[in-house]
Assembly symmetry: C2
Homo-oligomer: 692 residues x 2
């Protein structure tokens, strides 16, 4: 991972001919793609791609792959649903799932798929409203204006609208989404092949995973019509082919200032890693409690290990001295240019130091903010806190509420609150005990908040009492408390409600201090830095990822690692050579049984130069005809530093090849119904196979 990057992203200038950027659909560098790859996407093509793409749950990507609402995403994106539908007796994570008929498709307890149907630039409107304001006034006004815009746009329960902050505030766009809240599971392979190689192989390549799940969105109890969808490519992806990846990259930090990066390198990322490491140790050992405990904690462990490895990669990038020196040099260059122009200097000159000051202010409040604000490590506590906050917020005018409690967001909030996803008390107690222990450790046993929360109880005793004592698993009770408002909350004897009510004033207070003294200052001054970049380098640049729909381009291409060339495509047959019989290198029985029927040379996984980041999981890889040639499920280890800068020489997207998907559905899973939907008229071949 040691390398010297010379990155366009470092200076904020438009990348020359690198395959860099997670582009918005209203500022896509079509001419540049034409120049490099000979194909120029027009607006019609971009619109179609946008509408055939969908956000999957809170943090993944997906695509429509049939006109009848069939959605393709990763197994690891649908894990939550698959686990929630499983029981101790029917373990779909271990054994996979296939609905042979539409009637067998099972509804996911708490899942939403959303499609970006409209983008409106609202920068001018917001800038006008906040002109000349700073601090609390700036933050309040911005929040109120955003709320207003979102509310006006939200025309029904199946619509969601978000004002999206792009370029650190350089631009604001209003994104309107079509929501699909009835999502049903259609097909999932066994975890053992979806995540073959497990944590050791995660973020590595060569790779041999079938990380796929098919789901279907419903409307009024019937499969939804999705006229914009991606057809299947007959040819798949070959080395050198132009590839596009539409999806929802979660967050990049390429536009951050040096002071912000220093904070992340020295404090932010290490603190996250200490915590994730400890949780990982705890959950890994929790799994030894028994088979059922292993099942209920698998999902948590997967998420923690994935986050840990990804965050370590980011940290490694920032402690790369050569990389960091370039970031410093780039900022100095921009500041020199700004300072050389008296007008720009007056407008933007102080912004970097203001951000540094706010960042220092945060260093001093970090412990309290990180300990008090994020909750107490329990889902039941989160439910309680939502109920307590709703009772306080919903009586206020819309524009004055905490974000998340605005009218525009209520349907989503309610949906989450009423989730049928199972809650496991034993795991809850372990997690809450951990969080309370950390709280006491970070703030010290003598801190007023710690004393208030724990009293004379130990973390374990408190966690056990409130989790065992709470009735909030009961959705009817949640409904009653939600509709009963403040009065119902105050009358509740539920220990979790009482705990949430006890700690909420402190959480709100620290959040307010943070928002006013840190967030508002950084927001305001980041806007200025972004505007300075536009003024110095032009607007042909892409914004940092924000969890919203983007499009990246690239091509299927290997790379050099430790002096060796890594080939871009792996073969299905080689999957079996990696099988040791021991988890996580144990193939499922279905694969071992079907081995003789499979064409060994079928393309299995491949890498491409598309610029992606966490959140792109589940994105389709499409060719210039907008046909599916693959399914993104990972980045290589070198891509993790992509949070701070893109290096085309080694940064790679890792995908399941479209050929492997078809071969497996056909010969291993005999999922004819899915195959027929993906490639109408092509399925019967399976019947001719003498091996079946």
């Amino acid at each position: 991972m040691k390398r010297l990057l010379i990155l366009a992203s470092l200076v904020g200038a438009a990348p020359a001919l690198a395959d860099e950027g997670m582009w918005t659909y209203n500022n896509f560098p079509a001419a540049k793609v034409k120049e490099k790859y000979g194909f120029e996407p027009n607006q019609e093509w971009l619109d179609k791609v946008r509408l055939a793409s969908a956000k999957f749950g809170g943090g993944c990507s997906s695509s429509f792959v049939s006109p009848d609402g069939l959605v393709m995403t990763n197994h690891h994106c649908a894990r939550g649903c698959i686990q929630q539908l499983s029981t101790a007796k029917k373990d779909f994570i271990a054994n996979g799932f296939y609905a042979k008929t539409q009637a067998e498709e099972l509804q996911c307890p708490a899942l939403e798929v959303s499609q970006l149907v409209e983008i409106t630039d609202v920068t001018a409107q917001l800038n006008t409203a906040t002109q000349g304001l700073t601090g609390k006034q700036y933050a309040d006004t911005l929040k109120a204006e955003m709320s207003k815009l979102e509310k006006a746009c939200t025309t029904g329960a199946d619509v969601r609208c978000d004002v999206v902050t792009l370029y650190q505030g350089g631009k604001y766009n209003l994104y309107k989404y079509q929501r699909f809240q009835d999502v049903r599971l259609v097909f999932a392979p066994e975890h053992a092949i979806a995540f073959f190689g497990g944590d050791p192989d995660n973020f590595e390549f060569p790779r041999y995973d079938l990380d796929v799940t098919f789901a279907r969105v419903y409307k009024d109890g019937k499969p939804a019509k999705t006229p914009n969808y991606f057809k299947w490519s007959d040819k798949g992806a070959k080395e050198g082919d132009l590839t596009f990846v539409p999806g929802h990259p979660g967050r990049t930090s390429r536009g951050l200032t040096v002071a912000q990066l220093e904070y992340l390198r020295d404090v932010g990322l290490p603190k996250q890693l200490f915590r994730l490491s400890e949780i990982r140790g705890m959950v890994t050992e929790f799994q030894n409690r028994g088979v059922e405990q292993k099942r209920i904690s698998n999902n948590l462990l997967f998420g923690v290990e994935n986050g840990l490895k990804a965050t370590k990669g980011k940290h490694e990038q920032l402690v790369d001295k050569a990389f960091f020196a370039q970031k410093v040099a780039a900022e100095q260059e921009l500041r020199r240019k700004v300072d050389a122009d008296p007008k720009m200097k007056a407008k933007y000159g102080a912004a970097w130091d203001e951000i540094a000051r706010a960042q220092d202010a945060f260093r001093n409040m970090r412990k309290e903010y990180d300990s008090i604000e994020p909750g107490l490590g329990s889902q039941l506590f989160n439910v309680a806190r939502t109920l307590v906050r709703a009772s306080d917020e919903l009586v206020k005018p819309d524009t004055e509420r905490l974000r998340g409690f605005n009218d525009a967001g209520l349907p989503g909030l309610k949906n989450q609150l009423m989730s049928k996803a199972p809650i496991y008390p034993e795991l809850e107690i372990a997690q809450m005990t951990f969080t309370l222990t950390k709280l006491r450790e970070e703030l010290g046993a003598d801190h007023a908040f710690v004393k208030k929360v724990l009293g004379k109880e130990s973390p374990a005793a408190l966690a056990t009492r409130v989790i065992k004592g709470s009735k909030l698993a009961d959705l009817k009770l949640r409904e009653q408390l939600f509709s009963g408002g403040k009065k119902a909350i105050e009358a509740s004897k539920d220990p979790m409600i009482q705990l949430a009510a006890l700690v909420d004033p402190d959480a709100r207070a620290i959040r307010k201090t943070y928002e006013e003294q840190v967030e508002a200052v950084i927001r305001k001054n980041s806007e200025l830095v972004a505007q300075a970049k536009f003024e110095v380098y032009g607007t042909g640049i892409y914004p940092d990822a924000t969890g919203t729909l983007r499009l990246s381009f690239g091509s299927v291409k290997g790379y050099m690692e430790d002096g060796k060339q890594v080939a871009p495509i792996t073969a299905m047959g080689d999957t079996f050579a990696r099988h040791t019989g021991e988890d996580p290198f144990a193939l499922p029985k279905s694969w071992l049984a079907a081995q003789k029927d499979l064409t060994a040379t079928t393309a299995m996984n491949f890498v491409s130069t598309n610029d992606i980041i966490g959140g792109n999981s589940g994105s389709p890889v499409i060719n210039k005809d907008a046909q599916v040639v693959g399914l993104v499920f990972d980045g290589n280890i070198q891509s993790l530093g992509g949070d701070y800068g893109f290096d085309e020489s080694v940064n790679r997207t890792v995908s399941v090849h479209s050929e492997a998907l078809i071969e497996a559905l056909k010969k291993i899973y005999k999922a004819d119904r899915v195959l027929e939907e993906l490639r109408p008229g092509s399925t019967p071949t399976v019947k001719a196979n003498p091996g079946l």
Copy 2:
């Protein structure tokens, strides 16, 4: 912890009048102490203090407190022994221990106390031997010369000699120790009061711990005669009193170059912290397996939590931007002065860059070195490795052996190898599984060494097989394999021996590369940096801590924290206000029962400005008459950054007050025999107490 330090230690100059420094006994700043405190220790005083002090085990300090070999140290220093002597039925950790008669004193399975009896300066001899040499030649020669000196000095099995590298190689001293290998437990309180407040209160103040243990050294089956010992003070320590702390501070890094500190800040410390955090999570949850599992893992957990908190404090110091900037400035100043003098420039000018290059070289081999060299996380494996290595090393000439296998070190090695300390297979399996999992994670599943170790087994399967299959818990077998040499090792079917033999060539190879390409270069050039400091700033400076006997001075003094004055002494009565009844704030029954008899105003714990670091645990605090006024057991949280620089305004040593020790021994534990030994003739008072 945010503060701006202006530290003498930063520039390497002699500290002015700060209570800074962990001084050697042949370069103590007596005149300075006189100037500040009006008392000038003479050589006789220094010799007496040195001979009444002792190293306790591998990493703690202690003192002789009677002429009959009574040793005082911390409970947490003797924990290993106390736990090893405990069984599922007799838990001395939980319930404490008191030998009412000498016959009841129990021998610790693997513990050594050693007394520094002679110091010889051997700098000239070593410098002459290595003159003009670099790289491997330099390292080999230095090692051989050290071995020779140590061997010549070692006159018997009860003598150990070490060449100690001071001032990063600016000086070399030969330290000769009297070894006491028969150490018996005399008295230990309950863990609940020895470590009252547990991890949350660790490194904090105000504090209320009775972290003490008394042991006795034996010679030929009888209490050893220790004519040099500390008497007990009648007056104890009062605010403002001059205090001395003799002891064995483990390691400080105040003399490191900026490149070395950068490495620690960005890579070294974070990596340690990730690992410790994960182990902590694992062991914390392992404790939930059951009562016995909790008991056998308590010691490990304590060590991990202690190390974690201490290392976090160090990391926080290094990410303090103002502190780091001063380190950079100090180095630049020294280098400017060196460069300004052509002679010095020629001799020392390149040293800093050479160290930086070696540090960068280590960055690139760190993963392999850290994964392969330190063993596989199992005590049985360590035993196996020692046996395997001994069979290879002991046939070589003394000067060519791996360090640790020299003739001079053999008695200690054998002592450790034949330790009767229990080994718990269940915990061994958990730890080894963890270590093997990390190995695969750090190096990747495709790394040759990982494939060699794991083959087709999972980490858990391999760990279980070799630990359950090994017979090395049997001391007779160890003896046979040790004396049987290479032939016995090669013939052994013990799976742990076979594993150790399998991996040892790789471990030796990476260690060799490290020693030649990193260690030797850093050693050689650190010598030059240290010599440059002597030349620029004079020799009135102290060396970084090296685990060897030092002496620090200071006074009993409070400090400011978060804008409030922290009083320097706590009262025994306030201990009860902190009792919640829940671990780690649950006082033992003995204390609750005796509460009414205790004098509430008895001094409990106190802080002083003595400059100490980890390894000083168990040090006595003495007054100018060399009488015991306290027992060091901790530093405050601000002292953790003391690894890199001392800040007298807030850096504090935390000790048990001598008054509390007497009050507790008398009224709570009725340990008359110990009391009488500490203060001959004063014990009978206890009999007059009507509460007994």
